[in-house]
């Protein structure tokens, strides 16, 4: 009997939870705020679903009832992606070590 592809996805999911668990415990507490903003940015990879949704109309119309939700989701996810990565970058650029000889 063939294994349902769902099982493979479930395996990836479960293993990723464990990877996340160990990776996040190794994050230094002083970087917990950037951690939150960067997880925000990467969870907006949901934009791939938004793009599919936006291009989902099949009757020649650009804006159909289903694609309009896709376009809205694209805006939201894009705000998050650009905002999340840029604000993380801004924060991380501020973390400096003690200057030597001072």
């Amino acid at each position: 009997m063939e294994i349902d592809p769902f099982i493979f996805r479930l395996s990836i999911f479960i293993l990723s939870i464990f990877v996340g668990y160990y990776v996040v415990w190794s994050v230094t507490p002083s970087l917990h705020t950037p951690l939150m903003s960067v997880t925000n940015a990467i969870s907006s990879v949901i934009i791939v679903g938004a793009i599919i949704a936006a291009l989902s109309s099949n009757d020649g119309l650009v804006f159909s009832s289903s694609s309009i939700y896709g376009f809205l989701a694209i805006i939201l996810a894009a705000v998050n992606i650009f905002g999340g990565f840029l604000v993380t970058h801004r924060m991380l650029a501020m973390y400096k070590k003690k200057k030597k000889g001072k």
């Binding site: 925000n40 907006s44 934009i47």
Partner: protein
């Protein structure tokens, strides 16, 4: 592009996201980590573009909307002050939640476009995944909006509680479960909309009873929810990048919530059930007897610090409110010129989100190797001459170690009272968030500095 190739590329972008988080294990590698994250995102979006078979005029609109959202995001990211980071993160969480809801709605209306079956005849597994993604997304959205309003001060930070609150929440959760089951058997759009409405409602109800200083837990929890919502949609779309990311973000938020709860010595359920601040206020008002307090001015503080050889700074949320981080750094610079050793002690729940104080100090150009976590620095207080508490309160209260009756008993606190002298910058003697008096105010070696944190710090610098 073949389905196999795009699946592999999605996997690569998932791995890059793991590396992005891994980079945050130290400030040196963190910037590279962020770059990995960006590359992962570019790969995921490009692959999705290339998998589109018919380039209709809709594609142009996709790019336009992408640019609009990106522009808004970039604008916010550059303009936002670092003190407003908790609000920003809460706002961003709400967007992820709403995006998940929109994608789920679109997939429900037009399942053919997602290869999930036809309307009214969606594959059972996909429908369950979709319902989970939509429900968690809706909860994340409304919960984050409330958290945002509370942090922004538009809504009062005080917990809003009413009778039967927990019962109502429990009933709504059961209702969500029942709706999901019926939705799967009937595929009725009305049930889908009802499910969304109830999920919005529960997100709202879960967050309103939680008080201002519990926000670090709430933000972390919503962070976790936004991850699970993304993972749910990832299963619907059969997309590895989304599944991996959802799992990463979900566990990340869960760990942060755990760390924050531990920092307050409270169980997760205790925080979620809420009402902490409201219950304790009565206790605070009843033992309001007058005790002698020593108060001083900037001159006294400057004198004490000038004669010290080591000073430990304890910043808290009040510093963020007063925007005093830059003034503080200037004061520390002057101290260092006088060969005084200065370090910073940060409590896990200082501020309104995990790591909030660290970012503010970094913004004020404080080198991160002078900033220490509770466990690293707590033994040093006994050897330090002066502790300078600015905007912190409950996290320094020795009651947490001595009085089993106290609501904060058992909470890890900074051993500030072991210092030779303690300077406490505060606007008044009012109790902190936990609603209890701080014994430290009345200690022999404590000098209260009643003033705005920023102004006081500047005055001390002048007097040094």
């Amino acid at each position: 592009m073949s389905a196999n190739l795009s699946a592999i590329l999605y996997l690569i972008s998932g791995v890059l996201f793991i590396l992005a988080l891994r980079g945050l294990s130290s400030p040196e590698t963190s910037r590279k980590g962020n770059l990995f994250g960006i590359v992962g995102m570019v790969i995921a979006v490009t692959v999705t573009f290339l998998s589109v078979e018919n380039f209709t005029s809709g594609f142009v609109y996709v790019l336009i909307f992408l640019a609009i959202g990106g522009g808004i995001g970039a604008f916010i990211a550059y303009r936002i002050p670092m003190t407003a980071m908790p609000e920003l993160v809460a706002g961003f969480h709400s967007l992820v939640g709403l995006a998940a809801v929109f994608v789920a709605i679109s997939a429900f209306i037009n399942p053919e476009a997602f290869n999930l079956g036809t309307p009214g005849n969606i594959k059972l597994a996909s429908l369950i995944e979709m319902a989970i993604g939509a429900a968690v997304g809706a909860t994340t959205f409304s919960g984050s909006v409330i958290a945002f309003l509370k942090l922004q001060g538009i809504m009062s930070g005080a917990p809003i509680t009413f009778k039967g609150q927990h019962l109502l929440n429990a009933l709504l959760l059961i209702l969500i479960l029942i709706l999901t089951i019926y939705l799967c058997s009937t595929q009725s759009p009305n049930l889908f909309w009802t499910l969304l409405a109830v999920s919005f409602l529960i997100g709202f109800l879960i967050i309103i009873p939680i008080g201002g200083a519990d926000m670090p837990v709430v933000i972390s929890m919503l962070n976790s929810y936004s991850g699970w919502a993304a993972a749910g949609i990832g299963f619907t779309l059969e997309n590895t990048a989304l599944i991996i990311t959802g799992a990463l973000v979900g566990s990340s938020g869960a760990i942060l919530s755990y760390i924050m709860c531990k920092g307050m010595n409270r169980s997760f359920f205790n925080v979620i059930l809420g009402g902490f601040g409201a219950v304790e206020q009565s206790a605070a008002t009843k033992n309001k007897e007058q005790k002698p307090v020593k108060s001083g001015n900037a001159d006294d503080a400057a004198f004490l610090m000038k004669n010290a050889s080591s000073v430990i700074i304890v910043p808290g949320y009040g510093m963020a409110v007063a925007q005093a981080q830059h003034a503080l750094r200037e004061m520390v610079d002057t101290l260092k010129k006088n060969d005084i050793k200065v370090s910073y002690a940060i409590h896990p729940v200082a501020g309104r989100m995990p790591g909030h104080m660290n970012v503010l100090l970094a913004e004020a150009n404080v080198p991160y190797d002078e900033v220490f976590e509770l466990e690293e620095i707590n033994n040093d207080f006994a050897n330090a001459d002066v502790a300078f508490v600015i905007g912190a309160n409950d996290v320094t209260n020795p009651v947490a170690k001595t009085d089993p009756q106290s609501p904060i008993y058992g909470m890890p606190v900074l051993d500030v009272e072991k210092c030779k002298s303690v300077l406490f910058v505060k606007r008044s003697l009012s109790p902190g968030y936990a609603g209890i008096d701080n014994d430290l105010f009345y200690k022999e070696n404590t000098l209260m500095l009643f003033a705005d944190a920023k102004k006081m710090t500047e005055d001390i610098t002048k007097n040094l």
